[in-house]
């Protein structure tokens, strides 16, 4: 379900520089913050750029290259944090961890041999505002928007995985037991009432004349013979 990071080459208007907002589906822009560098994974920072935050996703759009930009849905942002420790990263920044699409891994591997960066594999993104005093405000907006985007399918999925499968398992277990041991587990079973007592008896005998016992006798005899 996580879509991960993606490339944005489209701009709204006549390429003025704004991202394309899906207002028909209730998307609205929450914040525009110029002067932000972006750091994808361990790559060098890219700048200058502008950060756009809507109630659904985050964009970083290059100020110089109109065809360059990145976007990520809040649904794919597992974690975001204010990073001020120079050991973690030299510049104070918003650190995000991005959930990447898991299923397409192999496809992506074979397809993208080009030197273009494999965005779907990027799991970390740092956004470095030129003014570090804005970090807390940015963090607050991130929090606010993340809360607007709870996982839509989680409940459905989980219900399916847990409730139904658990119940089914139990039911199947019971059915299995019933079908394997109808005579012994079900004393009121019509099999006895219908005068088919012999059937139960023969089953009983069958069990006594189990092959394992025969094997054991044979072994015993064999042993005796061997000793003789």
């Amino acid at each position: 379900m996580a879509t991960g990071l993606r490339l944005v080459t489209e701009r709204a208007g006549n390429g003025v520089g704004k991202p394309v907002i899906d207002t028909d589906n209730g998307e609205e822009l929450m914040l525009v913050h110029p002067g932000v560098s972006i750091v994808l994974g361990n790559r060098p920072p890219e700048f200058p750029g502008t950060l756009y935050i809507s109630n659904k996703q985050i964009w970083w759009l290059s100020d110089t290259d109109r065809a360059k930009g990145y976007a990520v849905d809040f649904l794919s942002v597992s974690l975001h944090a204010v990073s001020r420790d120079p050991e973690a990263y030299p510049s104070p920044c918003i650190f995000t961890q991005i959930e990447t699409p898991a299923v397409d891994d192999e496809l992506v591997d074979s397809d993208s041999e080009s030197e273009t960066l494999n965005l779907s594999k990027i799991t970390q993104m740092r956004l470095v505002p030129s003014d570090p005093s804005q970090l807390n405000m940015l963090f607050a907006i991130f929090c606010q928007c993340a809360e607007l985007n709870p996982d839509p399918t989680e409940e459905e999925e989980s219900v399916h995985n847990w409730i139904f499968s658990a119940d089914q398992l139990e039911d199947e277990d019971e059915e299995d037991e019933d079908s394997e041991w109808p005579v012994f587990q079900n004393p009121t079973h019509p099999i006895g009432a219908n005068g088919n007592h012999d059937l139960a008896h023969s089953v009983f005998q069958l069990q006594i004349n189990d092959q394992r016992f025969e094997d054991a006798e044979e072994m015993e005899q064999y042993d005796k013979n061997g000793h003789q």
Binding site: N42, V77, S78, L79, H80, A81, V82, S83, R84, D85, E87, A88, Y89, F95, Q97, E99, T123, N136, F139, F142, C143, A146, E147, P150, D151, E154, E155, S158, V159, N161, W162, I163, A166
Partner: protein
């Protein structure tokens, strides 16, 4: 230690060894609400949040919301060797759906209270 998994089942580990699981049926009946209230009482305590990508982050629980999104303060990554460049950050927001476990301090766990609350929830009252 107590662990809470946010996804399908909630796993509690009391002390070191005693463990029971609650499946999502109960969660749907109101356990999210229960955990939500429960976590709110733990605000200010040190917890370790283990993510589904194996990253574990320790910090002071700042807040939790109805989706079990978790905000931590003064965080650090537990396994520094494995994630050398990872964050040592002041504030951290973790998406509820990526949380695997939350490890709580033993003294922050009132087993009796949880027992009662979970029973009440299971009865639907």
């Amino acid at each position: 230690m107590v662990l809470l998994s946010s996804h399908a089942s909630a796993t509690f580990v009391f002390g070191f060894g005693f463990r029971f699981e609650i499946n999502l049926m109960f969660v749907l009946l109101g356990f999210v609400q229960l955990f939500f209230s429960y976590f709110k009482d733990l605000v200010g305590r040190e917890v370790t949040v283990e993510l589904k990508n194996d990253l574990a982050i320790r910090g002071t629980l700042h807040s939790v919301d109805q989706y079990l999104n978790i905000k931590l303060e003064n965080t650090r990554v537990v396994d520094q060797d494995k994630y050398p460049h990872m964050l040592s950050v002041r504030n951290c927001f973790i998406r509820g759906s990526v949380v695997r476990y939350v490890q709580l301090p033993p003294e922050g766990v009132d087993v009796e209270l949880l027992h009662d609350a979970t029973r009440r929830e299971a009865r639907g009252g």
